[in-house]
Symmetry: C3
Subunit: 269 residues, 3 copies
């Protein structure tokens, strides 16, 4: 077996292909054609079309729960067919294959990549590369060859510096943190860009409130069920970001807000 091959290599897929069309299935067919042993796991295919930032956040919230040696195949690619590069990267115990458009930014903020290569070696792509579906013809095969044991360096020349997205950052002072909603999930929970560490001293003081859409929530709960049924609460979610939620209901609907809505955590005077 070539260097780096594992018995049942995991390839985790994150795309904006949707599930109605055959695109994700076709890409999986290509992967299994190259590496029949691969175990394919969907993170999501329902990232909003072309929404590189949303994809970057989904990846950052999920990657660390996968086994060591997992290969992440990330295709949110509004620039498909253009001159943007395709890359493969090694970072921590993982490898990543994606267009170089910033979709790996949020991961690379946490996990500095040790090596990044450009997907240039035609030997590890399909012979004809469609200008509209590089997931099938370039990214899928590259991930599959890595799973099969091909070394990162064989995929193409090393590159230095990759595209980074400007991730929205909260403004944090001693008395307050001003952030925004960066993600709304299926339950209508509103994830913000304020991390536990940004406001921990404030919250520990016990005299804190959270403002969003003209509403003020007193304190930070530790669990949804602390709020009365249907009532709003603020709490730290599963990735330690501040979240606005509603017990058994949708905070997004109750508040009528979307991504980008301002959120302020402040000391009660």
């Amino acid at each position: 077996m070539p260097t780096g091959a594992v018995m049942r290599p995991v390839i985790a897929l994150l795309t904006d292909f949707g599930l109605r069309d055959h695109y994700a299935g076709t890409m999986k067919g290509v992967v299994l054609s190259v590496c029949p042993e691969a175990v394919l796991v969907d993170i999501s295919h329902d990232v909003p079309p072309h929404d590189v930032l949303a994809g970057a956040l989904e990846l950052a919230d999920s990657y660390r729960y996968f086994p060591d040696h997992t290969i992440f195949l990330v295709v949110i690619d509004p620039g498909v067919g253009s001159s943007r590069r395709g890359i493969a990267a090694e970072a921590g115990a993982y490898r990543f294959v994606a267009p170089d458009n910033g979709v790996l930014s949020a991961v690379f903020d946490e996990l500095k990549p040790t090596t990044v290569v450009e997907l240039k070696n035609p030997q590890y792509a399909r012979p004809l590369i469609s200008r509209t579906f590089e997931g099938r013809d370039r990214f899928g095969p590259a991930a599959a060859w890595l799973a099969r044991g091909t070394r990162l360096a064989d995929l193409g020349p090393e590159v230095h510096g990759t595209e980074r997205l400007k991730m929205p950052q909260p403004r944090v002072t001693r008395d307050a943190a001003d952030g925004e909603v960066i993600r709304i999930d299926r339950f209508g929970n509103l994830t913000t860009n304020i991390r536990r560490s940004d406001v921990e001293p404030l919250v520990r003081s016990g005299r804190v409130r959270v403002a969003i859409a003209g509403r003020h929530l007193a304190g930070v709960s530790s669990v949804y069920a602390e709020a009365p049924p249907g009532a709003l609460c603020a709490l730290f979610g599963s990735t330690d970001r501040l979240e606005i939620a509603a017990n058994g209901a949708s905070a997004a609907e109750l508040l009528g807000v979307g991504r980008g809505a301002a959120v302020r955590v402040s000391a009660i005077a």
Copy 2:
């Protein structure tokens, strides 16, 4: 290999996580980290948010078609983070991991559990258990450890008595059965809580009608295609429940009804 381990253990997943967010994928990552040999099969992740009854019915309609030794990982969990228990159960040839909120009720009506334990042993959970995502930190790991060969008894202390949902039951007499719509599927077929056995003598007599939403359907068909295209019919569906359907169309749309709508099967006078 530990007691109870099988070569390619099947874990079947049923949740209300949706497919847009990374939650189901993250839970799978955790499972594969513990048990790389697991074969993961989705029953559905699109149970309506927090709808424990709907999840209970989907599980009851599907579980018996899975191989012996399948482990069902069922996370519809409106009480996440609260004091509701997490449980693992052995019933028939299967094991089940779920919150103790009644989501296993419909299965346990058919398949009496032989052992139920509470998920208390921290050794088989993630070190830090989020109060908002126990699927990732508690239920997923528990199912994975079972798949890997851990015995049910090792997950925690035995418990007696689990939460049961009040499943809506039909009222059955010699001349009629009064039930309701309990489920609407993607095709717009309306599944009722009236089982074939409830009305078999009535139906066999041949002089029977089915009333719903002010409409009367004559007799019970054996197949959709017996009705003219677009026409309504009543028949026994794939799990032997009475179903109102339309040949090539959506009965739900034609009738404008939802879950809970009254359905009456009665003898024609």
Copy 3:
């Protein structure tokens, strides 16, 4: 191992079952009960309900990207329970299991089947075959038995001639091609039935325009990003069909058109 068995046989699934209900999961449970080694890959379960033509096109666009020996389990089956036949076919390096309603037409236009059998042998079906869910009771088991090594001929008697759909064909002359939109994907890209080969000489001449919904697009681009952001363009998509797309936006929304919309490629006078 019986003749034809492979170590990790791939079964690719294409249905209109949707992902909300348990149907696809249940069918997978049945498949794994018969053939635990099967690797299950979803092409899509979101073919529009009963839309045999849409299913035929998704299959034709995806099948060739799967490994040799893949078994395609295709269940778009508006005639479920009626007298329409169930079939299994061998064509090229693949096998197909489906209702005989034309859903394999587009594949068979490209890949002449060498053998087709009717699924008559009860040994390779579930003992009781539901009249509303043959995916679970007949098609799923047949695919699984093939994966396990059962020969096609054992599933039932050979048949000659299968249902064919009339696929919409473009009208092609030296100066123009008149076609239609046959598929709209999640990105709002409009796939037409005009193939690259239909209009290659025209396009090569360089003086060509594409008309749809009263708009005229000059020339055929080679990549989405050639058009300004949000602007419409025509290009050949990943399966070499002419596609109307918009750079970073939805052509379907911009044009307000659906399947069947007329598309004309013509020489500029």
